[in-house]
Amino acid sequence: MSGTYKVAVTVNGQAHERDVEPRLLLSDFLRHELNLTGTHVGCEHGVCGACTVLFDGEPVRSCILLAVQADGHAVTTVEGLAQGPEQLHPLQEAFWECHGLQCGFCTPGFLMTLVPFLEENPDPSEAEIRQAISGNLCRCTGYQHIVDAVQQAAAKRRAS
């Protein structure tokens, strides 16, 4: 058996420390050790994008990262987006208004992919949006309402 290793990681601005087996995936660490179950686990081999989180500000798939690799790093999950229970992140609000989700399973991954995308591309074309979400699978919406939501969020962001 393998021993355990210390992980000191900042998640949504809060410092956490745990001793974990090296084979523990970051996605399982977030869900089972920190009870942050907003990060969803779909394919568990880096294809579906449901488990996307920000790792030092960049979107990555947390199911193909080890928790021990997050030692000393900062992670943002979907729980870190909203300012409070009554105050959604503008992109979350746009998903709500445009019906950008149905069952909602894929939504955290889409949000964590798209928040940094919009920061880098404040005025994206439809083609750019579709390319940006090409690594996230949604089985309900047919993607059209997600694209609508991104366009609305981008327009509101530019107007403010």
Partner: protein, 294 residues
């Protein structure tokens, strides 16, 4: 837990990493970006006794212009950095054009250059581009190192010239000759999927405006990057006009590759794709060579 248990070491220097490999090379797997290795561990298709995590070896994360005008890339450099750093566009525009074709942004944020090359997936973009650019790889081990040409490095399906105690540490790209044009083309069922067929093309014009040298290297049509030397020989000395390009595309797709039928495409369809993509790539590369700054 998905992966089987393993011991874990995360050395902080190249020297320490090589030392671990010298002692445990045969039982160890090297973890770089992990975008191919960790899925394999999750499926338990691989169950290494020891994982040697390179991500703390920051000395292997670099990207710089070399004195000869080429490019030096540390093995741990993230693919995303190649996409964003202007020096890649200047020194290796073929590489800059190729990187956005590698999977998705989430993958490129973690995936490394050295990891993709050492993984040696014949459907991956970087191995084919490395062969086309005549890259050289530095393979280090405790107490020594050697340089290997990209062509010699790729030995077969997921197989390279690396010995168990060796680590790919650096990739050196020579500068492109003057009046060289480039193009990368691929077809996948969805953006970011593995290519059904892809091709990296380079053409260099002589003083007379005719083709002096051409290179065509394909992905997903064999067990490693496949270079079409016969087609390139047909192009040398030609005017790179429609007839010359059609002849080269026919030759490469008919005689110089043996793509296997899989769930996405038959052998014949892949040959067809290779022929069409070769034409597109050569037309684009020739136009860029003619309009080049040098």
């Amino acid at each position: 837990m998905k992966p089987a248990p393993f011991e874990y070491q995360a050395p902080k220097s190249l020297e320490a990493a090589l030392d671990v490999l010298a002692r445990h090379g045969g039982d160890a797997k090297v973890l770089a970006g992990g975008q191919s290795l960790i899925p394999v561990l999750n499926f338990r298709l691989a169950q290494p006794a020891l994982l040697v995590d390179l991500n703390r070896v920051s000395e292997l994360d670099f990207l710089r212009r070399s004195e000869d005008g080429g490019l030096r890339i540390g093995a741990l450099t993230r693919q995303r950095r190649l996409e964003r750093d202007a020096v890649v566009k200047e020194a290796a525009p073929l590489l800059a054009e190729t990187v956005p074709w590698i999977a998705h942004p989430q993958i490129r944020n973690r995936g490394t250059v050295g990891g993709s090359l050492a993984h040696a997936d014949p459907a991956a973009e970087l191995p084919a581009v490395a062969v086309a650019l005549r890259a050289r790889f530095r393979l280090a081990k405790a107490g020594g190192e050697r340089w290997v040409d990209a062509k010699e490095f790729f030995a077969g399906l997921f197989t390279t010239a690396l010995e168990p105690d060796e680590l790919l540490t650096e990739i050196a790209l020579p500068p492109l000759p003057a009046r060289t044009g480039w193009s990368f083309q691929e077809i996948a069922r969805r953006h970011g999927d593995y290519a059904m067929v892809g091709v990296a093309a380079l053409v260099t014009l002589g003083d007379d405006g005719r083709c002096r040298e051409a290179r065509l290297v394909y992905l997903s049509v064999g067990d490693r990057p496949v270079e079409a030397r016969g087609a390139a020989a047909l192009l040398a000395g030609s005017d790179l006009g429609p007839d010359a390009i059609a002849a080269a595309a026919d030759k490469a797709s008919r005689d110089e590759m043996n793509p296997r039928t899989d769930v996405h495409a038959t052998t014949e369809f892949k040959r067809h794709l290779a022929r069409v993509l070769t034409g597109r790539a050569l037309r684009t590369a020739a136009e860029r060579a003619r309009n080049g700054r040098s």
